[in-house]
């Protein structure tokens, strides 16, 4: 499986490439009052209005004032997933979602057998598993977008058409 990797604070995270629609530079976000603090707001990109999830907030990392290198990742909705993605059991949300990350990294090829389940000390349900990078001591944490979207969007009850 190909994993698109990115950094949030000091951690390396990833999502399956097949769930990514596009990586892009940050665009202006419209704040939505009274929503979960993990929701940064809404953006309009490629004709879609998407909810921006700030992964720093999701991972309880301190916010940074100047997000010079930060990037946005537009994810496919469930309806947009390719058959290959579905075959791999990849799930997303029903609504368009954008992830705000600190920095994009490379595309990593990971054999599924090497992806280990989430260790118990990681308190986030949306971390699906961990994968040790080749020739490195570093681990990548694979995110489960469906869980993440469910945790956040359903807890606030919001959803965008």
């Amino acid at each position: 499986m190909q994993i698109a990797s990115f950094r949030v604070a000091d951690g390396l995270y990833g999502v399956p490439v097949l769930i990514v629609e596009e990586f892009f530079r940050p665009i202006p976000v419209t704040n939505i009052p009274l929503t979960d603090s993990r929701i940064e707001g809404l953006v309009h990109h490629r004709g879609k209005t998407a909810t921006v999830l700030d992964l720093r907030s999701c991972l309880d990392k301190p916010a940074v004032q100047v997000k010079t290198n930060s990037k946005m990742i537009l994810l496919e909705t469930n309806a947009e997933l390719t058959p290959d993605a579905l075959k791999l059991g990849i799930e997303s949300g029903e609504e368009p979602v954008v992830l705000r990350v600190d920095r994009t990294e490379s595309i990593i090829n990971a054999e599924e057998k090497y992806i280990k389940p989430r260790p118990a000390h990681i308190p986030y349900d949306f971390v699906e598993g961990v994968f040790r990078l080749q020739h490195s001591e570093n681990y990548l944490m694979l995110l489960n977008i469906a869980t993440l979207v469910k945790t956040i969007l359903q807890s606030t009850g919001s959803g965008v058409e």
Binding site: Q2, A4, V17, L18, V20, E21, E22, F23, F24, R25, N69, K71, T82, D84, T104, S106, I107
Partner: protein, 806 residues
């Protein structure tokens, strides 16, 4: 010496093929360009693959679009790469130009500041009563000698006639005639030899008395006798005055060692007193009336005027002389009749040697680094000072490019030329004088091997500051920051295109496999090129930092040099004034009238030397008996200074060559001042050069005003000569305690700086620089330790100039 006048314009664009571009950088450039050029065939391959892997026009378009975007970014990066090298070399060039133009200017400015003091010296010393007295007495004696010469000439004429008409002359008549001729011989040149030489005067006295004896019976004898008697009396008095004048000149010279000789001339241009003992015998009685300095001095309108004679030959010295001169006036009055002149011979060659060596990098052998030269040219373009006389020969025209020879006052210029078969950069600056001293039209030139500007041979040690932090700091020029940002942005763009490309290829499933390596290669190339460029920018930023540090070192050296030179003058002042007759007379005969005279004298001195806040005379028990600021006299009278360090050390001096000075400190003499800098010297009975002190002269230098003015002139400026915000300069004593500052808020007087070790451990005359943090603010700091000046050893002080990072 050979210089090819093929000057090149400065700030031209640097082609990568310019010989100054280092081999490493050229290789760097070629690698980046090769990699980026390699992207174009890959993109073409991508476009072809698009047709192969998909029949869908939208998909094909998407792939082609990605490839076109990659091509565009490659093109942009190629452009940036070219600009980057140009920027890199221009930045180095600009910075060196700033530093070395300043070095050329500082050298001429140091000389001007020095020579301004000389113009004050000559005007002040010409007021010395002893010199006026001596000249008046000489002029009177010369009148007596002339009238005597006339009389004797008449007698001799008559006798010659008798002797030629009368064949049978008596032996006594022949003897008389011979004697008359001999006496007339003494009286040649208005009898100057009798006036200046004790020995000749003795011989003359014997002969003239013998003449008087012979003629005593005759009518002529009786008229001569009276004239001879008064003449001999006058001569005795005059000899004492000549001797005293020579002594006073010696005293001045032993305090102010930067003169080779000081001479006093009478109205006819005869030297009647001088300071240099070795030259005295051959010099006294020499006529210099035809020398320009003498005629110009005699034409000065009042005591405020002086004349500076540019380096030229003089009968006084074998080497070319730089003479400062003014008239000596009757009764030492400003508008008095001109009765003679004083000429002071500055040790220019000695001064030039110091200046030529200063600010030049030294090789391992301690000599100035190869290819580096420093020279001073006169207004006519002739070399008058040279760091290497074999290459730039004194008294020859300096072979520097034409535009370097025709500068306007204060102008700085730089260009490239071939010097001694070597590509060199020449930096020149012409004097614009200092304060009221207009200078003599001299120029300073610094010659530097061209590769030193672009190589890393002459760079300060850089502090360990990461490039990213530097790029964020104010030290790096905006243009470099912009390039850095542009490269970062392009790097990101290529990365995003690649990532999106791979995402796109993945979604095509097996069809997309062919695109994978293409995007991998794009990522690799993009990373390689941008990483290289970032590395180069980091090198550039480090280079900028090194040059900034070097500039701060130079400014701090300038600051310590200027204060050293200033304090050298103060150490000379105190030694000379302590021999003044008003002071020892007042202490020997302690009467109010004498104290008042001493006060007046101190006041006159203080009015001429405004860099002092007060001049104080204390007797042997520490009671203050006179001061220059009359309004403070009553208050100061109540103070006893016997427990004060300056007084005690002044009392301990044993010769008029000694003086004492301590670090700046709080003084009971100046209650309203945080710090005082007091120079002191002992006063000796009868103004003797050696012996116990009978009191002390203490002079309170206006430290804060003078030191701050100097520091303010040593603050860094940008290329438009505006001060850079947040910069500061300060002096510290040997304990690192700030003694004066340009920024009392952040760098207050009294603050003890915890300086980095290499700053604390500087040796005499050394400079260093590094990062320094004060109150959480990061600065880069250049420091220089005193090297003293001539016999003034300095007080182990240091100067520091800082520039904030942000």
């Amino acid at each position: 010496m050979s210089v090819e006048d093929n000057t090149q314009a400065w700030n031209t664009k640097f082609s990568i093929f310019d010989p100054v571009i280092t081999y490493e950088h050229r290789e760097f450039y070629e690698k980046i360009v090769n990699e980026l050029n390699g992207l174009f065939p890959i993109c073409n391959q991508g476009k072809c693959s698009a047709v192969e892997i998909s029949e869908d026009a939208t998909e094909q378009e998407q792939i082609t679009d990605l490839m076109v975007r990659v091509e565009n970014f490659s093109d942009e990066l190629l452009e940036v790469t070219k600009k980057l090298f140009d920027q890199f070399y221009q930045a180095k060039e600009e910075f060196y130009c700033m530093i070395l133009s300043n070095v050329a200017y500082v050298k001429i400015n140091l000389i001007d500041r020095n020579l301004l003091e000389r113009t004050c010296d000559v005007r002040w010393w010409a007021l010395e009563r002893a010199f006026g007295d001596c000249i008046l007495s000489t002029n009177n004696t010369k009148d007596l000698l002339s009238s005597l010469a006339e009389k004797i000439s008449l007698l001799s004429g008559k006798l010659s006639k008798n002797l030629s008409e009368n064949q049978d002359s008596l032996p006594s008549e022949i003897e008389l005639h011979t004697l008359l001729q001999k006496v007339l011989g003494y009286l040649e040149d208005s009898g100057i030899k009798i006036i200046v030489s004790d020995e000749i005067c003795k011989e003359f006295s014997q002969d003239i008395l013998r003449l008087e004896q012979i003629l005593s019976a005759s009518v002529e004898g009786s008229t001569l006798s009276a004239a001879i008697k008064s003449l001999l009396q006058e001569l005795n008095k005059l000899h004492a005055k000549v001797k005293f004048s020579c002594q006073r000149l010696e005293d001045i010279n032993s305090s102010y060692t930067l003169y080779r000789d000081l001479v006093i001339c009478d109205k006819d241009g005869f030297i009647i007193a001088n300071a240099n003992r070795k030259a005295r015998k051959s010099l006294l009685g020499v006529n210099i009336a035809c020398e320009e300095w003498f005629t110009q001095a005699m034409e000065t309108k009042d005591g405020t005027e002086y004349f500076a004679q540019d380096l030229s030959t003089s009968k006084v010295e074998k080497v070319p002389s730089l003479v400062y001169t003014t008239a000596i006036r009757e009764n030492s009055e400003n508008n008095g009749t001109v009765i003679g002149a004083m000429g002071i011979y500055f040790d220019f060659q000695g001064e030039a040697k110091i200046i030529m060596e200063d600010y030049m990098p030294k090789g391992e052998d301690g000599n100035i680094a190869p290819g580096w030269h420093s020279l001073i040219t006169s207004s006519t373009g002739k070399i008058i000072g040279s760091s290497d006389e074999a290459i730039f020969e004194p008294e020859h025209l300096a072979h520097v490019p034409r535009n370097h020879r025709t500068l306007s006052p204060g102008e700085k210029i730089h260009s490239y030329a071939m010097v001694e078969g070597q590509n060199a950069a020449i930096f020149s600056a012409k004097t614009d004088g200092y304060l009221e001293y207009k200078g003599l039209g001299w120029s300073s030139h610094v010659v530097v091997p061209r590769d030193c500007i672009f190589g890393d041979k002459y760079q300060a040690e850089t502090a360990d500051i990461p490039a990213e932090k530097l790029m964020d700091s104010k030290i790096i020029p905006q243009i470099n920051k912009d390039t850095y940002l542009k490269i970062q942005e392009d790097k990101e763009s290529i990365q995003l295109i690649s990532l999106n490309g791979i995402v796109f290829a993945s979604k095509l499933g097996k069809r997309g496999v062919a695109l994978g390596p293409i995007f991998d290669q794009i990522t690799k190339t993009g990373d390689f090129a941008t990483n290289r460029m970032e590395y180069l920018l980091a090198e550039m930023a480090t280079g900028e930092l090194a040059l900034n540090l070097q500039a701060l070192e130079m400014f701090s050296k300038q600051a310590i040099d200027l204060i050293d030179r200033n304090l050298f003058e103060r150490s000379a002042d105190i030694r000379w004034w302590s021999t003044d007759s008003y002071f020892w007379e007042a202490l020997q005969n302690p009467e109010e009238k004498k104290f008042e005279k001493a006060c007046n004298r101190l006041k006159v001195i203080n009015n001429s030397y405004t860099m002092y806040r007060n001049l104080i005379l204390a007797d042997g028990s520490g009671e203050i008996v006179a001061c220059s600021k009359m309004e403070l006299r009553n208050e100061l009278k109540k103070i006893n200074v016997s427990d004060q360090e300056w007084f005690q050390s002044g009392m301990r001096t044993q010769t008029s060559m000694e003086y004492e000075v301590q670090d700046t400190q709080k003084s009971i003499l100046e209650k309203n001042k945080e710090r005082s800098l007091i120079y002191s010297a002992g006063i000796r009975r009868g103004g003797a050069r050696k012996g116990d002190s009978i009191g002390v002269l203490g002079v309170l230098f206006d430290w804060d005003t003078e030191a701050r003015t100097i520091l303010q002139n040593c603050l860094p400026v940008d290329k438009d000569l505006n001060f850079i915000e947040g910069c500061a300069a300060c002096y510290t004593n040997s304990q690192g305690e700030i003694m004066e500052t340009t920024d009392p808020d952040n760098w207050p007087v009294g603050l003890v700086l915890e300086l980095p070790q290499k700053h604390r451990q500087l040796s005499k005359g050394e400079s260093t620089s590094s990062l320094f943090i004060l109150n959480g603010v990061e600065y880069i700091m250049g420091s220089s330790k005193t090297q003293g000046y001539r016999e003034y050893a300095g007080l182990s002080w240091s100067a520091h100039v800082v520039r904030p990072m942000n």
